[in-house]
């Protein structure tokens, strides 16, 4: 779900890059001694997860872990995502230099909304099954929101991208469920062994 170079219009790149820089700055200001490892490791997890593509019919899609990053990191998802995006762009030509801002903003905003929506439930919900569903919904919402922001970015750049948007959205329907499952299992596991990690603080 990365936008390549030369796809977006200049105003879209400018606006979203500015917002992304703001997000990264907000995230960095919230990183303290205790949550450095969490941020670094989740950045690495995102880096690896979003490089591995799953073939779905004629297309392929990949995990994003946006919901998980949101739940665990909150604002700190922005620096974590941007570091991983920079490396993916430099190593694999995945995404693009000019689209680092838009890509970071799309995923970061999705993570942040997931954090706002589901973190209160993480604190309140009791019982393993219910907790799994909170994680599942956070993971699924992460992909849906990310797709939505991607669609908005593409559409704002050029209205001709409607067909591309439809194709991308369709390809991500299975990923919504897979990401939900992964996030669900991970949060249940974390709740059991390391519950304090589930706070975005």
């Amino acid at each position: 779900m990365h936008i390549a170079d030369g796809v977006l219009s200049l105003p879209v790149i400018a606006v979203s890059s500015t917002l992304a820089v703001g997000g990264v700055a907000m995230g960095l200001s919230r990183i303290d001694y205790e949550n450095i490892p969490k941020t670094g490791i989740l950045s690495a997890a995102f880096f690896v997860a979003s490089l591995i593509h799953i073939n779905i019919g004629p297309s392929s899609a990949h995990l994003m872990l946006t919901g998980l990053l949101g739940l665990l990191l909150g604002w700190k998802a922005f620096p974590a995502l941007s570091a991983a995006f920079v490396l993916q762009t430099l190593f694999f030509g995945y995404g693009g230099i000019t689209t680092l801002g838009p890509n970071t903003l799309n995923s970061g905003a999705a993570a942040l909304i997931c954090c706002a929506l589901f973190s209160p439930f993480v604190k309140k919900v009791k019982g393993r099954k219910r907790f799994f569903w909170v994680g599942f919904l956070a993971g699924a919402a992460g992909i849906i929101l990310n797709c939505f922001f991607l669609a908005v970015t593409l559409y704002a750049s050029d209205k001709k991208f409607t067909a591309t948007i439809a194709a991308i959205s369709l390809a991500h329907v299975p990923i919504v469920f897979i990401e939900g499952l992964v996030t669900g299992f991970v949060v249940v596991f974390l709740k059991k062994v390391k519950p304090e990690m589930l706070s975005p603080q």
Binding site: H2, I52, V186
Partner: protein, 220 residues
């Protein structure tokens, strides 16, 4: 300054299942996204294929052949196997471009020297008319006429040229295969790159620790 060793170790331990979950769930996966194109000239045919940085290949994607200055020479599409083939018509530097509607782009340069010598160079008015039959062979470029006529060979110049051409064809094929393999090898470095990327991120984490520790010491 006290580094929370236990905490770091525990976090690393807990993140391991996350990595495993990702790898396990994506067992039957393919690396994709970056698209590449390969093309080579064999005889009078330009053939090649487009591929994602994996075994998968994009199907029915437009491929455009352009000459110097971006003049479009030919337009075609990849087939079900991601391959394409077209008759070479000019002996010019040709850029084979793949430009799929979803924003993927790749290109491959074929230099004029790779084309057979009997093909005409591109002139301004020759772009638009498609030659159904390639022009008759003219090996004047490939075989120096004077040198051969002086030697009084038992075969004619044309015969000799076609013999040389036939002998060279398998060699050209092999070279093309090696070039394709080399190009793919570049992409096979991905696993090392992934590990390198993780290393970079952990390094960044270390740098963050350094600054956080400095800040903490300043506060104390």
């Amino acid at each position: 300054m006290k580094i929370p060793d236990v905490k770091v170790r525990m976090l690393l331990r807990f993140s391991a299942p996350l990595f495993f979950a990702v790898f396990f769930l994506t067992g039957n996966t393919a690396y994709a996204h970056k698209v590449k194109i390969f093309a080579a000239v064999e005889g009078n045919i330009i053939s090649g294929y487009a591929y994602y940085t994996s075994s998968s290949r994009p199907q029915n994607v437009p491929v455009v052949l352009t000459g110097p200055g971006g003049v479009i020479i030919d337009e075609l599409q990849t087939d079900e196997n991601g391959e394409f083939q077209i008759q070479a018509r000019y002996r010019i530097d040709t850029l084979v471009k793949l430009d799929s509607p979803d924003g993927h782009y790749a290109e491959w340069q074929i230099t004029a020297e790779e084309f057979p010598a009997d093909l005409p160079p591109l002139t301004d008015d020759s772009v638009l008319k498609k030659t159904e039959n390639p022009p008759a062979a003219d090996f004047s470029d490939a075989v120096p006429q004077t040198a051969i006529s002086e030697m009084k060979l038992p075969v004619s110049t044309d015969e000799l040229a076609s013999i040389v051409k036939m002998e060279l064809l398998p060699l050209q094929k092999q070279v093309n295969q090696i070039r394709a393999q080399l190009d793919q090898q570049e992409e096979k470095k991905r696993f090392q790159d992934i590990l390198g990327g993780i290393g970079y991120l952990l390094g960044l984490t270390g740098i963050a620790f350094y600054f956080a520790a400095k800040r903490r010491r300043g506060q104390q």
